[in-house]
């Protein structure tokens, strides 16, 4: 329940309280300012002309008709861009993405030219008049094909140099592989040879996307002395570094401001429209806004489709003795952060199970489709979809109860994960126990009769946080005693500003509501690696805690200096007045956090400290299947999570239900349809997302845990509830109608086809 202002006034109990979000008023009054609706004086609007072919060499671009449209100021291609930015390639892992298509186009929808005009309608009309001629090249779309294809999306790979484990790919030619992560533990071949049972399955996930309701937007205001970007970004620090690099400028001439963010879910990470907006503003010498329409988001960034070949060997008692994982990530035309996804989630591909002999190969692959990046789970939901389906299939084949089978193989606290890192503060047992209890698993279950069948299923998952990353925070106590927090975590709706302020309040013993969190502005907010992968509450939380403690220590020193007794209640303002003779001065606390980490050893991928913390979750589903049509109704969804201590229980609850609901969409119907690389459902009319009627009755439970190395016992919560939803539902469908679906989404036609195939009456291909 919401707390009242009386509670707020009570100091000393800020962490663990359901504080109302600090930005509530701006959001409910519609006055919160987002980049997409922002305007600057004298600003131009940009509209893009995009590639209609999936792979081709650009022969010519005809902009003459567009230039003639009254009101058009510039029509820009890569040639114009290169006059102001000679090396126009950007990206977090690889410098592989050109600001506009350069020589080649690599996916349908890639920006090829841009029109600038003061009136966006004029720019749009003109952009429609641009034409281009291409020499079409054969495309590669499928991630498994991409590994062996003779079609190469890039002629040469260009690792950015940011990540050590990509160095060996420098200048590599004739490959679509942007990273091959491997883990080797024990002797897999020998273990398979000696196994009593061997199971091998291939699972697939589809292409889906974030669709944050504020589409991507950036406004660049370039001046000869410096540049300011207003951008919908989850990572202003990274944007600054990359923009400075493109300009060859020091970072202090680049200012990145992030207004309110209409969510992101991973889509607004690293660098997206910023480089283009910069180039356009340099050319126009005016502020330029690049803002995507809803449709254009389908050409910006998506989740990775994935093929996962998983093979397990078991002894006669049902213990998994060997597991081999081959994961193919469909990264699209530009690497974006795909190589990170490939490695950081790849290392958990064997799941929350203790297996002595493990082999994992995880491949980041280029293909000729919209680039893929992180989406709420950083690859983990794709993995869990496969390994928890696989787990159930094995249990079924061995006629073991799926829970008993999981218990037998569960990776427990204190035991080594496949990487060699000992599992700590990872409540696998508690989560499974609680899930089993809530699902009444030990009770008989009515599978229904007639044409509607019922089933239940569950899944459990593990994730390692992206490690190592750095966060810096500043806490500023002003002369009147009021407190301001500067931190680079982008609050895109997850409530981080409020949670961070709670930590400051807790340390300084002041009400959270009195703490101001400044908007993200790299001129004042210090470095943060980015708001991603559930890392912020942990990493930035630590930095914030340290900054607040640093400020507190200085306030204590100040009190001593002005002769106040230890622990006196003198208001902070009076300390300043005593010290400076008037209300003046500041106390500045700073905090930096970077966790310990041992990089995976080359070749084996082993490390005894691979992650700052583990995330564990489980989900259980009950479903009804209409066997005449394949419609599946989820009648119950139970989410059980280990999130450490909840800093703000109300916000935690909405993160859990929000994440699980989003995954319901990815599970049941969301899918980007592609035809020859062309997206055929790039609109909300044809790409459906969950609405009120699609959300199942949900029970969200957090098990009682404390992250011993976390700030106030906390760890990340933004993604965990997505992990197990898909396999839990697929397992429930199997329980209901005895069919196994190997590919998402589980839409009615897919389910119906499987039912018919099982009955020996497969549906035709028309």
């Amino acid at each position: 329940m919401a707390t009242t202002t009386q509670d707020a006034a009570k100091v000393g109990a800020q962490v663990g309280r359901s504080v109302q979000r600090l930005e509530s008023r701006e959001k409910v009054t519609g006055r919160a300012e987002y980049t997409h609706t922002m305007r600057l004086p004298n600003m131009l609007h940009a509209k893009m002309f995009r590639s209609t072919v999936a792979h081709g060499r650009i022969k010519s671009i005809d902009t003459s008709a567009a230039k003639k449209v009254p009101g058009v100021l510039h029509v820009i291609t890569i040639d114009d861009v290169m006059k102001v930015i000679p090396n126009p390639y950007y990206g977090p892992a690889f410098h592989d993405q050109p600001i506009l298509a350069h020589e080649k186009v690599r996916f349908v929808g890639e920006p090829v030219a841009v029109v600038l005009a003061a009136d966006p309608h004029v720019a749009e009309e003109a952009a429609q008049l641009i034409t281009a001629e291409y020499e079409e090249l054969p495309p590669v779309f499928d991630e498994v094909d991409a590994l062996t294809s003779k079609v190469y999306v890039h002629d040469e790979l260009k690792p950015a140099g940011t990540f050590a484990d990509l160095k060996h790919l420098k200048d590599a030619k004739n490959t679509n592989m942007a990273l091959d992560y491997r883990l080797r533990k024990g002797d897999v071949d020998k273990a398979f040879a000696g196994a009593a049972h061997v199971f091998e399955h291939e699972f697939k996930t589809q292409k889906v996307l974030h669709l944050s309701f504020e589409p991507h937007a950036t406004i660049a205001d370039y001046r000869d002395t410096g540049v300011t970007l207003y951008t919908a970004s989850q990572g202003p620090s990274f944007v600054r570094t990359e923009i400075a690099r493109l300009l060859g400028w020091p970072e202090n001439k680049v200012r990145i401001k992030v207004p309110f963010l209409g969510s992101g879910y991973g889509s607004k990470l690293y660098i997206k429209l910023e480089a283009l907006a910069l180039a356009l503003s340099m050319i126009a010498r005016r502020p330029v806004k690049v803002a995507l329409t809803f449709e254009e988001m389908f050409y910006q960034i998506t989740k990775h489709p994935c093929t996962f070949r998983i093979k397990s060997g078991l002894d006669k008692d049902g213990r998994i003795v060997a597991r081999k994982c081959e994961v193919f990530w469909n990264g699209g035309a530009y690497a974006d952060i795909g190589p990170r996804v490939t490695q950081k989630s790849g290392l958990t591909a064997t799941g929350p199970y203790e297996i002595d002999n493990v082999s994992i190969d995880s491949y980041a692959l280029y293909t000729n489709v919209t680039p893929a990046g992180a989406l709420r789970g950083f690859g983990v939901p794709q993995l869990v979809w496969a390994y928890e389906g696989h787990t159930d299939m094995i249990a079924r084949a061995l006629k073991m109860d799926p829970v008993a089978f999981r218990r037998k193989n569960l990776l427990r606290e204190g035991r080594p994960h496949a990487t060699g890192t000992i599992l700590k503060d990872a409540a696998t047992e508690k989560v499974l126990d609680k899930l089993v209890e809530r699902m009444n698993w030990s009770q008989p279950f009515d599978n229904g009769s007639g044409t509607v069948k019922r089933g239940r299923g569950l899944g459990i998952a593990i994730k390692a946080v992206i490690t190592p990353t750095t966060s810096v925070a500043i806490v500023n106590v002003s002369g009147d005693g009021s407190v301001t927090l500067y931190c680079g975590t982008s609050d895109m709706g997850q409530g981080s500003d409020t949670a961070m302020a709670q930590m400051v309040g807790e340390v300084l013993n002041i009400p959270t509501e009195s703490v101001r969190v400044t908007p993200r502005d790299t001129d004042v907010t210090p470095y943060d690696m980015g708001t991603l992968g559930s890392r912020s509450l942990f990493h930035m939380g630590h930095a914030v805690q340290r900054a607040a403690e640093h400020a507190r220590d200085q306030l204590k020193a100040l009190a001593r200096e002005v002769g106040e007794p230890e622990n006196s209640n003198t208001p902070i303002r009076e300390l300043f007045v005593k010290r400076y003779g008037m209300q003046a001065g500041n106390v500045i606390g700073t905090g930096v956090f970077k966790p310990d980490y041992v990089p995976p050893a080359p070749g084996t991928g082993l490390s005894d400290n691979v992650t700052a913390f583990w995330m564990i979750s489980g989900a259980g589903a009950e479903v009804e299947v209409d066997t005449e049509t394949g419609h599946v109704k989820v009648t119950r969804l139970v989410n059980v999570l280990d999130i450490g201590k909840a800093i703000n229980p109300q916000v935690v609850e909405s993160q859990i239900s929000g994440a699980a609901s989003m995954q319901i969409g990815f599970t049941m119907f969301e899918k980007m349809h592609l035809d020859g690389g062309q997206v055929t459902n790039a609109s909300l009319a044809d790409y459906k997302i969950p609405g009120f009627h699609d959300i199942p009755p949900m029970e969200n439970i957090t098990v009682d845990t404390y992250q011993s190395n976390g700030p106030f016992g906390a760890k990340g919560v933004g993604e965990v509830a997505t992990f197990c939803v898909s396999p839990a539902i697929a397992n429930a469908i199997d329980d209901a109608v005895g069919v196994r679906l190997m590919e998402l989404p589980l839409n009615p036609e897919t389910v119906f086809r499987a039912i018919r195939a099982k009955a020996g009456q497969p549906l035709g291909d028309e």
């Binding site: 309608h121 749009e124 009309e125 429609q128 449709e295 005449e628 049509t629 419609h631 969409g665 119907f669 899918k671 349809h673 055929t680 459902n681 609109s683 009319a685 044809d686 459906k688 997302i689 969950p690 609405g691 009120f692 009627h693 699609d694 839409n747 009615p748 036609e749 119906f752 086809r753 549906l763 035709g764 291909d765 028309e766």
Partner: protein, 286 residues
């Protein structure tokens, strides 16, 4: 959206004069909800729109007539949904509107637009067809009557000339007839239908005297399923008969494949939902 002109005539006659039988870039606009989608997607770039929003008020009204309803073409779907006369004479329409689009669209969209757009996914056309509704169509040469059943020529195509307007719809009252409409979605719950089935029957489970069964969305236009109707008439309505009716419907209809389902799948949906709709009509609406 690219610039265009907007004319706002104050009478239907004037509006017709402003239309051009040979110029597809001049088009009437009612609520604009369907047209705007096409214009925003760049599929339709009008030079001029003729707004019907200021024509005579009578075209925005609903009246109960002796044998049913007279509905002006500019009546909004929200007005239709809320009308006590409609609920009394043709409750199937009221029920259908609850799941047709959303409140904001219904507040603006018009009956004329829902029919004239020729979009096979819309819910009102199959329902009006099953109810045996007719239209008054006005053109430069005067008015003509047209059964809704004869309105659709194909995918997003009607038999209307470019300078003809739908003025009114006439809907016979249900009377003792039994009716149901079923909307089948395969994406989210609020998706456009993969299949719509409207059924209007005379008779009871002991024997059906007359039937109109109309399918939409899975087909390229709202289509009467006459062999399914024939199969239904006469015999006692039991599982065997319903299976025959479903099979006849499934065989008779022609399907289109899209993101909502393949042809093979839609055929199976047809088989099941024609059966379910007949049963629902007989059991009465909840």
């Amino acid at each position: 959206m690219t610039p265009f002109e907007l004319a706002e005539p104050t009478s239907l006659k004037e509006a017709i004069k402003l239309l051009d039988p040979d110029d597809p870039t001049i088009r009437p606009v009612g609520g604009g909800t369907a047209l705007m989608l096409m214009m925003k997607a760049g599929v339709f770039k009008p030079v001029k729109l003729i707004s019907l929003r200021r024509i005579e008020n009578s075209y925005s009204t609903i009246a109960a007539t002796g044998d049913g309803l007279r509905i002006g073409a500019m009546t909004t779907l929200a007005a239709l949904e809320r009308s006590a006369d409609v609920k009394k004479a043709a409750p199937l329409i009221t029920r259908t509107l609850k799941t047709l689009s959303n409140i904001r669209v219904r507040n603006v969209a018009t009956v004329g637009g829902a029919l004239a757009h020729g979009d096979p996914h819309m819910d009102l056309p199959p329902v009006l067809m099953a109810l045996g509704a007719t239209l008054t169509v006005m053109g430069p040469k005067g008015e003509r009557k047209l059964a809704v059943e004869d309105l659709f020529a194909g995918y997003y195509e009607t038999v209307l000339d470019k300078d003809e307007l739908i003025a009114e719809a006439h809907v016979p009252a249900h009377g003792t007839k039994k009716a149901a409409y079923m909307k089948v979605t395969t994406g989210s719950a609020d998706d456009w239908p993969a299949l719509g089935v409207a059924v209007v029957l005379e008779g009871d489970a002991g024997g059906i005297k007359s039937a109109r069964i109309v399918a939409s969305a899975a087909t390229d236009k709202a289509t009467r399923l006459k062999s399914a109707e024939a199969a239904l008439i006469g015999g006692k309505v039991d599982d065997t008969l319903l299976a025959k009716v479903g099979d006849a419907a499934a065989d008779e209809a022609e399907y289109i494949a899209d993101v909502r389902g393949s042809i093979s799948y839609k055929r199976e949906l047809m088989r099941v939902y024609v059966r379910r709709a007949v049963r629902a009509a007989l059991e009465g609406a909840k």
